[in-house]
């Protein structure tokens, strides 16, 4: 026995010096920075999970190639939208099998969507569906009003089966609803399989499955979709592997296996790429130059820069919450609403050298955007002017701020960013540098109390918590698009319940006169607050079925965002993809969370 073991050991040691095998040409491997959070389609809300899920599961409709506003049938063969834009009727594809062998039925579709809505986990993606479907932000909010049974009835009425077709009735017309349905959170699961696992049984007793922790979801680490790949193994923190679905309803994928490996360290990822052990690696923007020699030598293919569905922006809080350590001051006295003055915000914008910021901090991989809506989306206005870097105009605006008092008495503003984000720090320090330069001119005029711009970093948890508490005065954050529609930009940036706008207190600007420039069919009107104006236009735009009119409404919103200078340094980031020369078939759709592997092959 010992001889055998020693013999094997000797063979093993000798084998140490054997060269690596050639990677399997049927296996596609990506090296990621971080792990996924859950395989439950209704629970996940991160791009890593979404990438895995949209390769395993399928939705009713899917994005048509590179388009973000055109769809192809997937599990629905056809769909109709009622004239009023509220009722969507889907015909479900026949002959489709789930990975575990079950047949896809319209009941599965109804169950999947109802389950997602009723599960509605805290901080999850379902608010996107709830908004147009039930005109609410959470099931909990509805259950408080209607009770569990009432909510169940409401959901069953909104998503139901009629004559073998799936009918979804929205609370109001919402053109981007198809974009939401194409998202991985609306993936279709096998009802019998889920119930057998102990998930919700489809009855009015939904509460036990509502808002689960990740690990409590029955679908946390299992999967059974209809997609081109099946889950093979997930070893958290290490890798997840998928294998080809040989019974796929379309032609099976060319790749036999897909592996997503977790490799947090950049140098290690790069070495794995150079060694040919991975086909695609995540390349942080700061390390793009490390890939240039590989591209030049033909050892890597580069796509890009491509317009990303992500923006970086500075936000002004019009009224900082009492007790904040970052309370703005005017003449040395606390002034919570200091930034509600439009001249001050415009001065900040004129003092921002966007070209240098993009070149130095983002290595040229970004472009400035006028208003929230990014390039490539309906409603982006390429002619929308943005604030140029102009210190003369910045000075003029500063002299006007607070009736001249800001110039005379000086003021203090703290600009915050999250610790470690050097790009945001760059923007904050640029504003500090240029705005404090005016102290020299002011001193000559006899104004000695300084303009004091302080730059402060905060750990991410602190940063988020203080932002939510409205304690930050000026803060830099990014927004990653949920679905490819302008509503997903104007809502967070401008709506009362938007992720950023709700921390900015636009209500403080009152008696706002509105004169339409683009949406000329609208009457001139005075609104009680700036927030009321924004909300009304956002509401009109999201419900507008006529795309031409909707576009003009978004133009209007972009214009207002710039005119009122609600943000500073709003830029859209560009992105790149690096892959091995032997990888083929990839295409870019900014609405995809990651690589859609069905179209890929190696050779």
């Amino acid at each position: 026995m010992w001889h055998k073991i020693l013999g094997m050991f000797a063979v093993g040691v000798l084998g140490v010096f054997v060269w690596a095998q050639i990677p399997n040409p049927d296996t596609y491997i990506e090296a990621w920075i971080g792990d996924l959070q859950s395989l439950d389609p209704a629970w996940h809300y991160d791009t890593a999970s979404a990438t895995v899920i949209f390769n395993i599961y399928e939705t009713l409709v899917f994005y048509d190639g590179e388009h973000v506003d055109k769809f192809v049938p997937m599990l629905a063969t056809a769909w109709e939208v009622s004239e009023d834009g509220r009722v969507y009727t889907f015909t479900i594809r026949e002959g489709v099998k789930f990975h575990e062998g079950g047949d896809l039925t319209p009941e599965d579709v109804v169950y999947s969507l109802r389950r997602a809505v009723l599960q509605d986990r805290s901080g999850g993606p379902i608010h996107m569906i709830l908004e147009p479907l039930l005109d609410a932000y959470s099931i909990k909010e509805l259950a408080d009003k209607l009770g569990d049974e009432g909510v169940y009835q409401l959901v069953c009425e909104a998503i139901k089966l009629v004559d073998g077709k799936v009918v979804i009735t929205l609370a109001y017309p919402f053109p981007p609803f198809l974009q939401i349905l194409a998202g991985s959170w609306c993936s279709i699961i096998d009802m019998e399989w889920a119930i057998a696992l102990g998930d919700w049984d489809g009855s009015a007793n939904w509460r036990p499955w509502h808002d689960p922790k990740a690990e409590h979801s029955k679908l946390f680490n299992v999967a059974n979709g209809t997609g081109p790949f099946k889950l093979e193994r997930w070893v958290p923190g290490e890798y997840i592997s998928l294998v080809r679905n040989e019974n796929y309803w379309r032609e099976p994928a060319k790749l036999a296996r897909v592996v997503f490996k977790i490799v947090p360290e950049w140098g290690t990822r790069l070495a794995m790429f150079e060694a040919g052990d991975v086909d695609v690696i995540a390349v942080p923007r700061a390390y793009v130059s490390a890939m240039d020699p590989l591209v030049a030598a033909g050892k890597a293919k580069m796509y890009g820069p491509l317009p990303g569905a992500i923006a970086q922006t500075g936000f002004f809080n019009f009224r900082v919450a009492e007790g904040s350590p970052f309370m703005p001051k005017l003449g040395g006295v606390d002034k919570p609403d200091l930034l509600s003055d439009i001249h001050l915000r415009r001065a900040f914008n004129y003092a921002m050298d966007l070209d240098t910021y993009i070149r130095e901090a983002w290595l040229g991989e970004a472009w400035p955007v006028g208003g929230p809506v990014i390039k490539g989306r309906l409603g982006h206005n390429p002619d929308q002017p943005i604030y140029p870097f102009d210190l003369e105009k910045a000075e003029q605006e500063l002299r006007l701020a607070w009736g001249g008092e800001a110039w005379k008495q000086g003021f203090k503003v703290v600009i915050t960013y999250n610790t470690g984000n050097v790009m945001r720090k760059f923007a904050a320090e640029m504003l500090e540098y240029y705005l404090e330069q005016f102290n020299e001119i002011r001193a000559k005029e006899g104004y000695t109390a300084p303009i004091d711009i302080e730059v402060q970093d905060l750990p991410w948890p602190t940063y988020l918590a203080m932002m939510d508490d409205k304690q930050l005065a000026v803060f830099f954050v990014g927004w990653l698009e949920d679905y490819a529609h302008p509503h997903n930009w104007v809502h967070p940036y401008m709506a009362r319940t938007g992720a950023f706008a709700m921390t900015q207190n636009f209500d403080l600007v009152q008696d706002v006169s509105f004169e339409p420039v683009y949406a000329t069919w609208l009457p001139a009107k005075t609104y009680a607050t700036l927030q009321d104006l924004f909300d009304e236009l956002i509401d009109m735009a999201k419900k507008e079925p006529n795309l031409a009119k909707a576009e003009l409404l978004y133009f209007e919103l972009n214009r207002l965002a710039v005119d009122y200078a609600i943000n500073v340094a709003h830029i859209q980031l560009l992105t790149r993809r690096y892959e091995q020369p032997w990888v083929h078939g990839w295409y870019y759709n900014p609405a995809h969370p990651g690589t859609y592997c069905y179209t890929l092959w190696k050779g």
Binding site: A20, N24, I29, Y45, G123, H127, P461, D469
Partner: protein, 342 residues
């Protein structure tokens, strides 16, 4: 000696209690919203997201309630859920520990044997070129950041030469495992390869271990070299060594039969502590070589404020340190009969 061992073991629960109290105490400085933000990670996307998460995870409850609940679960064997490992904390420990143990045990062989050999070499060539050369060699390893050193190894031996890969095993082994062709009995690939009768897997696992082992060894050699060298120099000055030489024994016998045995007593203590240190997980080495062990997991958990993982890892470390130190004390008493544990 038995009374000493029992007394030391009885201290363990008290130590664990104090450590958990300390970690929980630090945690209590974070307000609920900051802890809630760890669950959303990104900007909260719906107006009530933060409040719902605080309520869902009971983050607004007094810290002593949260602590007592956690302790109660602990006594029932439930260490909680590790957000960073995506599995229960106990399972995470059981999953990552074999990887770290495998690395530590393999690393210990070159660390101890080469470290001691270098120390002896240095001592017997005291103040001669070989002494200086070995000391410089070891000190370079000691002072070189393992991060840079590890990456250099990766670039040369992996990216360019493709001799030694990173990770634990190659893709084909993972596929073999996923398809049921390879069973993991112990979680240590080298041992499991032997148990499965797969020399090819053993070879692959060893290839993956070469660079992390060498990185760890090179860092530790300086320490062992210095201790062995000074202990050896002191021993060589002892009268019994001079007597042995005076008897006309060969230098080889004097050194390896008479001097080394006594010189290694303090080295044994250090070697024991080195093993404990390696078993705690070696964060940087595990991270750069993408070696999924305890160190990499604990570091990730700490940076993401995954408090249950941090607590679980801390408890595990406590036990390891107490038992490890106890083992070293006993070992010390066994190899040196002059020492009595009281």
């Amino acid at each position: 000696m038995w009374a000493y061992i029992v007394r030391r073991l009885l201290l363990l629960p008290l130590l664990i209690f104090l450590v958990t109290l300390f970690v929980f105490g630090m945690y209590s400085f974070l307000p609920p919203k900051m802890r809630a933000s760890l669950y959303v990670q990104d900007v909260p996307r719906s107006p009530d997201a933060m409040e719902r998460i605080i309520e869902r995870y009971g983050l607004d409850q007094p810290i002593h309630i949260q602590y007592l609940r956690w302790m109660g679960n602990l006594l029932r064997g439930d260490f909680g859920w590790s957000k960073t490992a995506q599995r229960p904390v106990l399972e995470a420990l059981a999953h990552y520990f074999p990887a770290t143990l495998e690395l530590a045990l393999w690393a210990l062989i070159p660390v101890i044997f080469i470290g001691i050999w270098l120390g002896i070499l240095s001592a017997i060539h005291h103040n001669r070129p070989l002494d200086h050369a070995t000391r410089v060699f070891a000190l370079v390893g000691w002072s070189f950041p393992s991060y840079v050193y590890g990456l250099l190894l990766i670039m040369v031996f992996y990216a360019w030469l493709r001799w030694f890969p990173v990770g634990r095993v190659s893709q084909w082994v993972l596929q073999l495992e996923a398809t049921g062709g390879f069973h993991r009995f112990t979680g240590m690939y080298t041992l499991d390869a032997i148990l499965n009768g797969r020399p090819d897997v053993l070879a692959d696992a060893l290839r993956h271990l070469v660079m992390p082992i060498f990185t760890l060894a090179y860092i530790q050699w300086a320490l062992l070299l210095r201790i062995t060298r000074s202990s050896m120099l002191e021993t060589l000055r002892q009268e019994y060594v001079m007597t042995a030489r005076a008897k006309g024994l060969s230098e080889r016998v004097v050194i390896y039969k008479h001097a080394v045995r006594n010189a290694l007593i303090p080295v044994a203590t250090v070697a024991g502590l080195l093993l404990i240190g390696l078993l705690n997980g070696v964060v940087i080495t595990e991270t750069i070589f993408n070696y999924p062990g305890l160190g990499r997991w604990a570091a990730t958990a700490a940076t993401q404020l995954d408090i249950l993982s941090v607590l679980g890892f801390t408890l595990f470390n406590c036990g390891l340190l107490v038992l490890g130190n106890l083992f070293v004390d006993i070992l010390y008493a066994v190899i040196d009969p002059r020492i009595r544990l009281e």
